[in-house]
Symmetry: C2
Subunit: 455 residues, 2 copies
């Protein structure tokens, strides 16, 4: 094929996926089942129903159905901001003087500023279908909370967001976006929940963590009538919804006859990475194709590269089910000086199992070099990226520079998960030369893991 490749490949509406792809269906080694924290036995649909909407609980447990229809109302909402462009980074290639072809799927062209909206709208839809009054959730950097408040506003659902305190303070404007969409935003740990009060007492002055915000949101959901808890990453249902990223990417590449050689995603809980790689990993699992896949995580929260593959709680408060995953321990709280998002202690059990089975590799990178890559990208590609996304940018640049040495014309594909417009406090630190890097010691990680239950 020698079709000229435009700067941005937009699919037509009719080319948008009508079904999500559930990669678990093609996995020979399925992710280990979630465990009920009370019984330490695999959790059942009935046990999940008090926490999650029924249909979402069903999706969470379904590891056999490969394709699941996207309901019409969700598809309509998707059309407001999707298909997202697959962009050929011509300007970056030129700046790097690399023979590699760099493509990025840009998920930041919506007000939540990230891919999180893909799952938020699905979760809000099922909550509405079930006749609920509202949902509760946690948010770290604020992208998920914003996405959920947008989705809830669309379906006229109440939305209660527990926001990790360090982000609440560093990102007051995120809070206002959520409020504009009608959400109630509470800094976590708060004094509104039992678990919040307990954490505040144990760790006075803590700036919070995703794990403890999750615990608070779960408690808020289960203590109010007509509420359920929803989560923006980690869960298999979220990866299912995020598969739209990978499906659109693959359709766009196929349309122009491009075969990806290297696929890169940043990894916190695993939602964008899992969504991007699903259809590609599916081909690998079915023996149809081969790809090099790289998960990029921050050196300050390195669950894949330095964590342990075992059962752990999904939340600090230990009220959620346990998942088998690469984890630093549910008590692990990354340093507050880490501005780059991706602060979760564990990793999606789907991504963890694929990693365990050798379908992907992982790299950890430092904060300062991530912001350097972010600035370089912003200046040549015209998009100021989210710090999270910039982890993937950094490795894409590194790999493109390797191609320059070897002369290889690799096709490098990554997700630009979002924009950094609400991360300017972190950019300011970088601009002022005040950014520092933090890497946990082996002893810290070991101590954190030592507190986990033996399952």
């Amino acid at each position: 094929m020698s079709m000229e490749i435009p700067y941005k490949i937009y699919l037509e509406e009719k080319e948008m996926p009508a079904q999500w792809y559930n990669v678990r269906a093609d996995m020979a080694n399925k992710p280990a089942p979630l465990l009920n924290p009370g019984t330490m036995q695999p959790i059942t649909l009935d046990e999940l129903k008090p926490v999650f909407c029924e249909e979402l609980a069903r999706q969470e447990l379904d590891d056999t159905t490969p394709y699941i229809d996207i309901p019409e109302e969700i598809r309509s909402f998707y059309k407001m901001y999707r298909p997202s462009p697959l962009t050929r980074a011509y300007c970056l290639e030129k700046a790097l003087d690399t023979p590699a072809h760099i493509y990025y799927k840009f998920e930041g062209n919506n007000t939540s500023g990230s891919h999180k909206l893909n799952s938020a709208i699905a979760q809000a839809y099922y909550a509405k279908q079930e006749g609920l009054k509202g949902v509760t959730t946690e948010t770290g950097a604020g992208q998920w909370g914003t996405a959920l408040s947008m989705a809830c506003s669309y379906f006229d659902l109440d939305c209660q967001v527990y926001m990790v305190k360090v982000s609440y303070e560093q990102k007051p404007f995120r809070r206002e976006v959520m409020r504009t969409y009608g959400a109630k935003v509470t800094p976590s740990p708060s004094m509104d929940t039992n678990v919040g009060r307990k954490i505040n007492q144990e760790f006075p002055g803590t700036t919070g963590s995703l794990g403890c915000a999750i615990s608070e949101a779960v408690e808020a959901a289960t203590s109010q009538d007509g509420y359920r808890y929803v989560l923006g990453s980690v869960l298999s249902q979220v990866l299912l919804h995020q598969s739209i990223i990978g499906l659109e990417t693959k359709t766009a590449l196929d349309k122009y006859g491009i075969k990806a050689d290297l696929i890169i995603g940043c990894a916190g809980g695993g939602s964008n990475l899992g969504g991007l790689i699903s259809p590609f990993a599916g081909e690998m699992l079915r023996g149809e194709a081969d790809y090099q896949i790289i998960a990029v995580e921050p050196a300050s929260c390195p669950s894949l590269t330095r964590g342990s593959y075992r059962y752990d709680f999904c939340d600090t408060g230990k009220v959620c089910p346990l998942a088998k995953m690469y984890t630093l321990g549910s008590g692990f709280i990354p340093s507050a000086n880490h501005a780059g998002g991706l602060r979760y202690h564990g990793m999606s059990s789907v991504v963890s199992q694929l990693y365990e089975d050798g379908y992907l590799e992982a790299r950890s990178v430092g904060q300062t070099e991530v912001f350097r890559a972010a600035q370089q990208f912003a200046r040549v590609e015209g998009i100021l990226p989210a710090p999270e996304s910039s982890h993937a940018i950094l490795v894409a640049i590194d790999e493109a520079l390797k191609c320059k040495e070897t002369g290889e014309e690799k096709n490098i594909v990554f997700v630009l998960t979002g924009t950094g417009y609400f991360d300017m406090v972190a950019y300011q630190k970088f601009n002022d030369g005040d950014m520092s890097d933090y890497i946990p010691t082996d002893a810290e990680i070991k101590a954190s893991l030592a507190k986990l239950p033996t399952v």
Copy 2:
């Protein structure tokens, strides 16, 4: 035609305009010439050259060439973020229960967050071509400064931005975006220029205005070797570059056989409105078609609806040429409580002349109702709009509701010039119910106009 209209109409790269359209060429009554403030005579190319790049000065004075080629390097840059989508607001239509069809051209999908980048990249390109070291400019809400810093970074030009003090303080993150792109940002009025020191002395504690920031930027440009001044609105060259908005809009409408009935744009200096309406006004001027065009301005800075059509200085410091335009007087400074942008005292001479000749009408709207429309739009269309853009949204909603009463299926088209991600201080005021409206008195406007020179 009964082709199904997608949510978003994306043109293909090859459908993007290769030329800008200069509406002045088709105007029977040309905009009055700029006057040299020293001689009060029409300014010449040679007199403009110390302030503007030569090619831009030429474009400024050219009122006869209808089409001007867009240089290849600018077209390449455009491809990074254009064509911008023309979006059918299906969700808004449904929420309003209107038979009207609402379309908006969304110019906010780039890091500057607005249409300003369309002219910034052109101006930076010509500065680079001329071998300049850098450019100076002013910025109000910060959109133009951001756009220019992106453009300068792309062409490796130095960029010095004088930012209206009230915005500098309300929008610290805008400053950081500009710094990330390598710009130097100074709050205006500053103590770095003669005109800044003079204004600070005359009006101690002033929060600044676009007019005085312009004066500072012009002084900075003319007092440094290898620098020129560039401006993001008002000038005819800017409207020329912004014609890409209207040209793309028209191509997209034509592609689907849609005839616009009503065209709406917000109006500060007139750049987005002028750019949008240029090709449509061209058809009207040539007698080929008829459209209803509405310019929407803030009640707190109502140059078209309450100003006077006469020669005025473009800047408070009276160092720039004079333009014949609808103006409130170059000494007019809108109340600091006005958060909605569009703070310029005058109006593009092209837009002013078209208005004078009856090709468009104007409306002024209050700040609180503008934010109410912004919130309504954000909740159903998924984009949190810039306050500026929301002036157009408000009138589009009003007109769609009129259609509901009359049953008319009008095609309403407006520009969503940008996103409000850096306007959250204003949104917070609105969310907290602390927003107030300010309308200047007749006496205030009269007093401001009384200070103008008689030409």
